[in-house]
Amino acid sequence: MAAPESSAAAVPTLYTNNALRNAFGGVLAFFILLLIGVMAFSIRLFSVIKYESVIHEFDPYFNYRVTQFLAKNGIYEFWNWFDDRTWYPLGRVIGGTVYPGLTLTAGTIWWLLNSLNIPLSVETVCVFTAPIFSAFASWATYLLTKEVKGTGAGLTAAALLAMVPSYISRSVAGSYDNEAVAIFALIFTFYLYIKTLNTGSLFYATLNSIAYFYMVCSWGGYTFIINLIPMHVLLCIVTGRFSSRLYIAYAPLVVLGTLLAALVPVVGFNAVMTSEHFASFLVFIILHVVAFVYYIKGILTPKMFKVAVTLVVSVGLAVCCAVIAVLVALVASSPTKGWSGRSLSLLDPTYASKYIPIIASVSEHQPPTWPSYFMDINVLAFLVPAGIIACFSPLSDASSFVVLYIATSVYFSGVMVRLMLVFAPAACITSGIALSQAFDVFTRSIKFQLPGIASKAEVDAAETSSSTAEAQNDVVKAEKSEETSKNRPSKKSKKKEKEEKPLTKAKAEKKRLLALPLDSSVISLLLLILLGALYVVHCVWAAAEAYSAPSIVLTSRSHDGLHVFDDFREAYAWLRHNTDVDDKVASWWDYGYQTTAMANRTVIVDNNTWNNTHIATVGTAMSSPEKAAWEIFHSLDVKYVLVVFGGLVGYPSDDINKFLWMVRIGGGVFPHIKEPDYLRDGQYRIDSQATPTMLNCLMYKLSYYRFVETDGKAFDRVRQTEIGKKYFKLTHFEEVFTTHHWMVRIYKLKPPKNRIRGKTKKSKSKTSTTSSRAKRSGTGKKNPWH
């Protein structure tokens, strides 16, 4: 394994010592990795312990429902599934619009376990998929960082990633969403790319393409990979690091990757037609041009090469300009220049708020605040710059990739808080490199200062000069120091992937001069360990307190104990048991997935938000007066309307707080909904100062119907005021269910009357020549429903 070839005549114990040391290091690294995996899995189990093994949030319910369907009906039915229980009456083609990676993964695990006679339910498999894959992700981070800087940095980075709160927030047990597997796929793809770049092996290039295929299956964020890798290739070409390994790493990936991406139905031909992929094709062409130029340069004499260059430049430039002009005209002719709305909003953060209110309204798409950086990556926030500097000394292909990755992910995380998740692995990798280097410097300084070792120190330094693999093996350093100076450093053994350092002796001298004083290095070492401890404490706190809430069950502590608010499931269960199977339920799109999954009823709009007009229809209905809303819902065959109301208990994410989006989205499509009609002094108010339009709209009425009966004063705990209109009756809806804490309220549409008493619709005139059936007494309303 680590035999120094040049000293074959050396003492036999030398060889065994080296091999033993490496074996010990390998076993230690293996056990550390195992522990890291266990830690990554266990830190995500807080929600299962504190609440129960339940699926969280909104999107995971859709994935769960799809996985249930897959488990029950098999994969062919899954590919061809047309779901008619959402987006009524449009339906949704599930096979073609869902990223199948997550559901296929969980389905495979479920099928495998059940065929081994381990009868886990689909729900259990879904809940625990994310923690398992986060363990895999930390192992992938170890592999990636090992390719960049060595085993020590790899282990540190893996430990950091296992616990980083940003990743925990989207992969707790129960958060069954695309990112659970996608982050693992991302890191693994990057690892295989770097491995191919370092070794130049076509085998790893094939594996890289397959890993990229898995990433495309899993998440829409695969466009990050297919833009980052070309950017890195371009960077390598521009900085003069072009090599044949670069060609082998990139060219097969583009061809195979594009084909594999086109195989996934949800991507389809977008893989060759949208602007998100053009960068890869452009760099593909550039790479070929550069490779060809290098080849010609290699087989020609310099003089001839100059002639060739002038010839090509004069002729080729004209052709090139023509082609580029055509291409630019093609791209510029489409209004969004070929980019999709979400990608465009990444590049121009103000795009979504101007043109696509739906994308702007999702809370995950807002830019993050500064404190959220410290909450989500904590200590890593100031280790990252140190890591970037460590990547530059020395700069290799792999470390330039890491620098590029972190620079781009920092920018994108600043645009959208959801992309902090892509930033977290980069932060962990660079911080791991920085921490490992720091440990290396301190421990080496300590070792230099220890008495009796100084003379042998230069040999040791030469051996460990640019490898941080021994950073973790302080114990075996003592053994090494006894070896004689005949031990020519085993340069070749540990470094397959980095540039050779021929002047290890000179570097050893330099390292001796750079050794820090003993006491400061000991104290610094202790402080670093303290830093790590603080990081761990923060991560465990964040996992336990901040990110484990399933958001379908809420708890609050008060003086008389723990209150559990299980209103959502109560409402869905009521729907499931007290309505017909074919009844349609209308609600705001947030609750669509949960309603179809738990209540098993057809909904009008759900979280997929693919049809803006349909959502605007529901938004308009919620913003209109009762009669107009009844008309809209009746035209959609809706039977029940579901409203979430937090005023009684102080739940802030209720529909009244989301009402501004209903108005904006509805007003974006139907111009008779005008936002200023609902605003008083630029604010949405529901108290006595509210506008009449607001007080008459359906959302207000459905939320506050009979609210005054709770405490007599109708005090809304979320808005912290008493409401404006307290006593009113509903004319077109009737209340059928309100949950225990009034959080979910379900109303039924009243059926239209059989006979119209009073004036018929045709005669609008007020003359008294109408028939004697006309009763204008009593209500005095010209309302045919009363």
Partner: protein, 116 residues
């Protein structure tokens, strides 16, 4: 800057290119021939698509990309087998060819799936 001198230069360039290329070993020339054949096939398919229209698009895409794909993989093989390449001198040509075959296998599996 006369035309004659540039023509002479072009001629000399062409001649030196030809002689330099003639010096490459035979196995590399065979690989280059294969690459040329693959690219030529791709060009034929593109011309056919321009004449006949691009429906069904997935078949066109898989056909063109399979040609381009084998060309790229053959170039990778050439890089790895070339004796002048210092980076790959401890890679046996059998291993390089095995990798080439494996990658082609995956590529054509995907092509078969996508051909429709």
């Amino acid at each position: 800057m006369g035309r004659a001198s540039s023509k002479e230069d072009a001629g000399a360039l062409f001649h030196s290119l030809r002689s330099a290329y003639a010096a490459t070993p035979l196995n590399l020339k065979i690989i280059d021939l294969y690459v040329g054949f693959a690219i030529f096939t791709a060009l034929i398919q593109v011309v056919y698509m321009a004449i006949v229209g691009s429906f069904p698009f997935n078949s066109f895409l898989s056909g063109v990309l399979s040609c381009v794909g084998t060309a790229v993989l053959a170039v990778c093989l050439r890089i790895q087998v070339n004796k002048e390449n210092k980076e790959f001198k401890d890679l046996s040509p059998e291993r390089a060819f095995a990798d080439f075959v494996l990658c082609n296998l995956v590529l054509h599996l995907v092509i078969m799936n996508f051909l429709g």
